[in-house]
Amino acid sequence: MSLIKETVFGFWSLITGMRITIKEFFSPTITTHYPRQTLPIPKRFRGHIELKWNEETGRANCTACGICAKACPSDCIELEGIKPAGEKGKAVTSYHLNYTLCSLCSLCVEACPFDAIQHSGRYNLASVSNKWNHMDLFDRYKEQAVRAGKTPFIPEAAVVAPVPSAAPAATTPAASADAAPQPAQ
């Protein structure tokens, strides 16, 4: 008797399952068609870091104090700055991020006293080469400022600050960073 009951009950549960799936069949799809559609990136998304800049003056907030580089546990930030002619403080001239080491811990952003770094919304970085992992954020700032219709502030000094020998070439990362897919920002 219990076998019959079990069979009938089991069969009814199968019908219930099929009723649920057919309801889903006639509902609209809920997928995002990725290359043609993208979801908005959440504000708190941690992409690689980038330099923040003042919308009005077009100047980067960074003063090249190097606190971010000290705060970084992975030692992936190297930056330089100079005193622009006729100014008191320093301004950043190159900001090298070794993205292969970065763990997106956000300690640099928290440590920055000038609110000069933020996480970018770039989520679809992919490349066949590893070059783009070494990016110069100062070049990125320059591009962003030009795209926004501002003249990027490039500090020029009478006396150039001493250049550390380990500083990587500034041109390659920016060029190959473009090779990586750029999300609409």
Binding site: T7, L14, T29
Partner: protein
């Protein structure tokens, strides 16, 4: 014109021409179905999971099957070095034979029938079993542990499910009194209440109790057995992707694999066509009878009804696949030996009593 054409088809040359038309038509039908049921399967899988399914190639992804076909044709085919080469290549040939042969006896309409065989049902079932042997041979000749396990599963699964299926079919033969599929369809004319699924309960034409009181249950058993015989989910133990790679087809590549894939859908077509003919009235209209005076138009309406019934059953196959997870092997055998076989034996007994009952009084 049509009358002279029919006369021509009864001459010896006409019979030969009919064979050629049959060959071309059936091969085309099986190939088109196999190709586009894959599309239906993938589109259905997508929709059941709230995805769009194939969309990139062609409108609604309709060019996906040709694209898949070209991809499969472009691949190298090779036999495993230590396997049995002859059996290995015989299997894909044999697996494609049953759907091609079985459609010989299946009436698509009152005049659309390759050959009116008076033991059509018997023929369909005798050839249908080749499918199992082909899968078994393919797995066995592959010399691959997954394929061997899959072969063993296929054999025990099909032995278990052939029995209730044939018991159910015997019940239907007892009720209809014929193995001629066209005759079985003609008996079910005059509206859906005359289809075997309901005629078994109450015979409206004769006005007395029908021969098979459990006809809807019989239909269910037939359908479940058809799912198991074609190795479809939830009984796809033979090709259990998550445990046996690709089951018996693991060593096949390119179109060798493609043929197995097509045969699976071909067998589903045959199984669903049989379920339609045996239980759902074949090409008969659900309301009334198509008047004979409508001629060819009536025939095509009948074909439309047949295909509509058949494809709704096929859609249910896809629906079931994307609803239920795969059963365990014990569950599969228990279902057959503990439930389906006793119930189908009981229906067989019940209908033999019911058929003899009027003669006793």
């Amino acid at each position: 014109m049509i009358d002279s054409l029919i006369n021509f088809f009864n001459t010896p040359w006409g019979v030969a021409a009919r064979s050629l038309i049959y060959l071309g038509g059936i091969c085309g039908f099986v190939a088109a179905n196999a190709a586009y049921l894959v599309w239906v399967e993938r589109k259905g899988a997508g929709r059941f999971q709230r995805r769009p399914g194939p969309t990139e190639s062609g409108p609604w992804g309709l060019l996906q099957p040709p694209a898949d076909g070209i991809k499969l044709l472009a691949k190298q085919i090779m036999a495993p070095p230590n396997g049995d080469k002859i059996l290995f290549w015989a299997a894909p040939l044999m697996v494609m034979a049953p759907p091609l042969l079985c459609l010989l006896a299946i009436p698509f309409g009152d005049n659309i029938l390759a050959r009116n065989i008076n033991v059509g049902l018997l023929m369909v079932f005798s050839f249908g079993s080749i499918n199992v042997m082909a899968l078994m041979l393919g797995g066995w000749a592959s010399r691959n542990k997954y394929s061997i396990i899959s072969s063993a599963r296929i054999v025990s699964q099909n032995v278990a499910y052939e029995i209730p299926m044939l018991l159910v079919v015997i019940t239907m033969i007892m009720v209809t009194g014929t193995m001629n599929l066209q005759e079985i369809t003609l008996q079910q004319g005059g509206g859906f209440w005359n289809w075997n699924i309901l005629r078994g309960i109450w015979d409206f034409k004769a006005g007395h109790i029908g021969g098979n009181l459990l006809a809807p249950v019989t239909f269910l058993i037939f359908y479940i057995c058809m799912l198991a015989e074609t190795n479809r989910a939830p009984f796809d133990m033979a090709e259990a992707e998550s445990e046996l790679v690709a089951g018996a087809f693991t060593e096949y590549g390119g179109m060798g694999f493609g043929v197995f894939f097509m045969a699976e859908y071909g067998n589903i077509v045959v199984g669903c066509a049989l379920a339609t003919l045996l239980f759902l009235g074949g090409w008969q209209s659900p309301i009334g009878t198509i008047p004979g005076s409508w001629g060819w138009i009536g025939t095509f309406i009948g074909v439309g009804f047949f295909l509509a019934k058949m494809y709704s059953l096929i859609f249910t196959v896809v629906w079931i696949r994307w609803t239920f997870p795969r059963t365990q092997f014990y569950g599969l055998l228990n279902l057959s030996w503990k439930i389906l076989i006793p119930v189908s034996l009981f229906t067989l007994l019940l209908s033999s009593i019911l058929l003899k009952l009027p003669r006793l009084f």
